[in-house]
């Protein structure tokens, strides 16, 4: 899709499906927060679930064998299908004599397009999950892996049903629509020759499957017809029955926010339930039909994913949908933009790259901004942003170099091969851009704002001209720092390196100056060495080699300071998130451990200092005052937002904290022409919170630089970093 097409596609979805998707994902998202908050051993359950999945995937070939033996012992059949065509061939053979087949919801069956294959051989297929039923009647595709029809409002569904089914009385309420579907599909269930289900989990030792549903349709599909076909990816196998326990307790909470779904079916087919001849007057005990069970295990790229060290983690996914529900971008556009051929949401990049190929993943992969809000929500602790970045890197490498490459060549001393889009190279090398821009400020500021430049930037780099570009400061933080005298070692209680991130150094030195002043007044000798970029910018563009290189260089630049026992303090949360998170992937374990243990976010650090010595608060600027605080997404994922909040409250400020998952800017995302409108749409939610009646007098604070840019556009009030508010008075 071209940039313009993509922008138009997103705009259309924002207008048509955005409201419904937003309303529904918000209910799921808040439900999950509430349901997991009450869960005492949430973290242990996630650890256990992760462990079980790791073991299961490492033992997968032997577990598939064990499962096959168990199912066959029980009297069922197992077919291991190499790909979609193979699976469909087997399924259509089993359903050869069938006139109709009823299905419960299964994403894996969508992945292989089994409905089309069955219809082609003359079998009528009915989706019985009510959401899937709506989609089938509307001839659309699911917009969410758990709630396939969340992009449709009740009114739209009513209109659809009234048009398609010509009911006596027009249907209107949710109750009427549900009862109509129940009746209609109830009849289809009774007539059906074959029932098809998915499987959420399969137990190797016993051949038991767990089906997670609330409607009861999967139960009906499994027992009403005599023949049951279950379609499942090979990755669903677990060793033992008891391994199901953490998943039973996590899956509904993570997905829709229920403690459990209404029905957790533990079926060991063929089941002992007698066959049911609907319309018969012979007692069930006299039924003499045989039950036939087929388990179709689908590889379709999964065994290769298992061998791929970066995609392997995707196989742990239990498809709860949490990573979609928590995602600000997903909340606004849904799976029809944030999804590939079958899967949607954050983890879809891994699934699509694995089962349909990189091209399908490439269609939507950029919508993951790496905000990391999904990471703590995933019940199997998958590093979802990382999978997105890795696949982005692979897509970049696969693309042909651009004719405009020479334009950014000088700006981009990166380690990437040609093929990375110019837009990505520009943002991935933003540090270099800033360095050059700053040298020539204010000329560069003035130039960048000239209409021809904005036109060229939009044309070549697809930087949206509706965005204000950051203005380079006349004096960088480092220049200011070198020209002054700090604390001497003898005056200080401790020493710390303040990490001069690109934004703070070149664009917004005030926050850096405030940080230096604060630290020094609290007895910390500050060092501000010339350090490389952290690697965050190239990483977010999928430029992994450059990110890795910068990680090595940054560590090299910090190692001596760590040896000297100095702490490392970051102002920009996304850089701290590199030190504490992604560096684990780039650095030797010991290096990562040292740096991550010694690094802090500025307000976290100040909080620590004043907690150890409460009298020190006197030097800070105290309230009273009313503030509206937006914590940074990665800062919240690291659990650090609270330090700033508590610090402000301890200093006698009345704090309103935003509840949105993301401001919408997410680094460079909001600058990109194709995503500008989505970025603003996400931002308006934050605007609503801070512009609500009675809140407009509050001083606006934000920890992240891109959040600050976004808030600056959204609000009349100028946002500041919290450290600027609490830093000692200049006087």
């Amino acid at each position: 899709m071209s940039t313009d097409d993509k922008a138009a596609h997103i705009r259309r979805l924002l207008d048509t499906e955005g409201d419904s998707v937003q309303a529904n994902t918000r209910v799921f998202n808040q439900g999950r927060y509430a349901a997991t908050e009450d869960l005492e051993d949430y973290e242990e359950l996630k650890d256990r679930a992760r462990e079980i999945k790791e073991e299961a995937i490492s033992r997968l070939p032997e577990l598939i064998e064990e499962l096959t033996e168990a199912v066959e012992e029980n009297g069922g059949h197992v077919y291991l299908a190499s790909d979609a065509a193979d699976a469909n061939r087997y399924i259509t053979e089993v359903a050869d004599d069938a006139e109709t087949l009823v299905k419960s919801k299964s994403m894996t069956s969508e992945e292989i397009d089994v409905n089309e294959a069955l219809e082609a051989t003359g079998v009528d297929v009915y989706e019985t999950d009510l959401g899937e039923f709506v989609i089938q009647v509307a001839e659309e595709s699911p917009s969410h892996i758990v709630g396939p029809a969340i992009h449709k409002s009740r009114e739209e569904i009513a209109e659809l049903f009234n048009r398609e089914f010509e009911t006596d009385e027009p249907l209107e309420t949710a109750e009427e629509l549900t009862m109509f579907a129940r009746e209609y599909l109830g009849e289809r269930v009774k007539e059906a020759d074959v029932g098809m289900t998915g499987a959420n989990f399969l137990v190797a030792e016993s051949g038991t499957m767990l089906l997670v549903t609330s409607e009861g349709n999967a139960r009906k599909c499994a027992v009403a017809p005599d023949t049951h076909i279950a379609v499942s990816g090979v990755e669903k196998v677990l060793p033992n029955f008891e391994d199901l326990q953490p998943f039973i307790e996590l899956i509904a909470r993570s997905g829709t926010g229920q403690d459990l779904t209404s029905y957790m079916s533990l079926l060991t087919p063929p089941v002992s339930t007698p066959t049911i001849e609907f319309g018969s007057d012979a007692p069930l005990s006299e039924a003499d039909g045989d039950r036939d069970f087929h388990l179709v295990l689908i590889d379709n790229g999964r065994m290769a994913m298992r061998e791929d060290p970066e995609l392997r983690e995707t196989l742990y996914c239990i498809r709860c949908g949490a990573c979609a529900n928590v995602c600000a971008n997903f909340q606004h556009v849904g799976g029809h933009a944030f999804g590939g051929e079958t899967y949607s949401g954050g983890i879809a990049t891994g699934w699509e790259a694995g089962v349909h190929g990189q091209e399908s993943a490439g269609e939507f992969n950029d919508l993951c901004t790496g905000c990391s809000r999904c990471v703590n929500q995933c019940p199997v602790k998958i590093d979802i942003p990382w999978i997105n970045e890795v696949v982005r890197d692979r897509i970049n490498r696969g693309e042909a170099p651009s004719e405009f490459d020479f334009l950014v060549e000088g700006l981009t001393p990166d380690a990437e091969p040609g093929g990375v889009s110019l837009q990505k190279r520009f943002f991935g090398n933003f540090g270099t851009v800033a360095k050059l821009g700053s040298k020539t400020a204010p000329v560069s500021n003035w130039l960048a704002e000239l209409p021809p430049s904005r036109w060229a930037m939009e044309k070549v780099l697809q930087i949206d001209r509706r965005r204000d570009l950051p203005k380079f400061a006349d004096e960088t933080l480092q220049e200011w720092f070198l020209a002054r005298e700090g604390l001497s070692p003898t005056e200080a209680d401790r020493e710390a390196v303040l990490y001069p991130d690109t934004y703070t150094n070149y664009i917004s030195p005030e926050r850096g100056k405030a940080a230096v002043r604060t630290l020094e007044s609290l007895g910390v000798r500050v060092l501000l060495p010339d350090l490389p970029e952290s690697g965050r910018a190239p990483l977010s563009q999928g430029m992994l080699s450059t990110a890795r290189e910068q990680a090595h260089e940054t560590y090299a630049g910090l190692a001596e300071h760590l040896d000297a026992g100095r702490d490392v303090i970051a102002i920009e949360p996304s850089d701290l998130a590199m030190f504490r998170g992604e560096y684990e992937k780039f650095l030797p374990e010991a290096s990562f451990d040292r740096l991550s243990a010694a690094s802090y976010e500025i307000c976290e650090y100040v909080y620590g200092l004043v907690t150890n010595d409460p009298e020190k608060t006197d030097v800070l600027t105290e309230g009273p005052g009313r503030v509206a605080y937006h914590s940074h997404c990665q800062q919240r994922t690291m659990g650090l937002g609270e330090y700033t909040e508590t610090l402000l409250e301890d200093l006698n400020y009345d704090v309103l904290t935003s509840t949105v998952e993301c401001c919408g800017m997410a680094g460079s995302f909001g600058y990109k022409e194709q995503y500008y409108e989505l970025s603003m749409d996400v931002g308006y939610e934050l605007e609503d919170e801070f512009e609500a009646a009675g809140q407009r007098d509050r001083t606006v604070l934000a920890s992240g630089t891109s959040c600050t840019d976004q808030l600056d556009v959204l609000l009349e009030r100028k946002p500041h970093h919290p450290i600027e508010l609490i830093a000692p008075d200049l006087g």
Partner: protein, 165 residues
């Protein structure tokens, strides 16, 4: 709180009614709770459907025409208000699924506190015996039509009878 109290509390949160009763009171309570016509299948030591208006060993026609289905639960899970419904050759699965009202009978002593205990028990009964069961928690439900509706494909209402010795 006793395990049974916890169970009852959790069921209350699921909009499921609970009646605690002694085995002797079973027939009378059952009559009050069911809506006719009713079908059922139950194999418990302390109580039986014999002599009640509930038709046992139903035909498929009775099954689809009845308002109430009565079955037993092998376990109750107190913290969730869940009942474990074993699939039997007597047709407990369709009886618990096709009628609007599902009446579940469970012995107080079979109510376990939490999910790990329940799964542990099922590992030896269900998995080792290669059996099937449903962990049912509240009535059938859907939110796919724009609001929460009870009774999507399965029962619209559930009533749990706890037999206390």
């Amino acid at each position: 709180m006793s395990t049974v109290d916890t169970f009852e509390n959790a069921l209350d949160g699921l909009a499921v009614e609970t009646t605690r009763l002694a085995p002797e009171a079973f027939e009378g309570v059952l009559e009050e709770v069911i809506e006719k016509p009713a079908v059922g299948t139950l194999s418990m030591e302390s109580v039986s459907l014999e002599g009640t208006p509930v038709a046992t060993d139903p035909t498929p026609n009775q099954l689809t025409e009845s308002v109430t289905g009565v079955t037993g639960a092998s376990l109750g899970i107190a913290e969730y208000g869940s009942v474990v419904l074993p699939s039997t050759s007597g047709g407990a699965e369709p009886v618990s699924l096709f009628c609007d009202l599902h009446v579940v009978v469970v012995s107080a002593e079979d109510i376990v506190p939490d999910m790990p205990t329940a799964v542990g028990t099922m590992a030896t009964t269900l998995a080792d015996g290669r059996e099937s069961a449903i962990i049912a928690t509240g009535p059938s439900a859907t939110a796919d039509m724009g609001a929460l509706v009870r009774g999507a494909h399965g029962p619209k209402r559930v009533h749990v009878l706890v037999i206390e010795q």
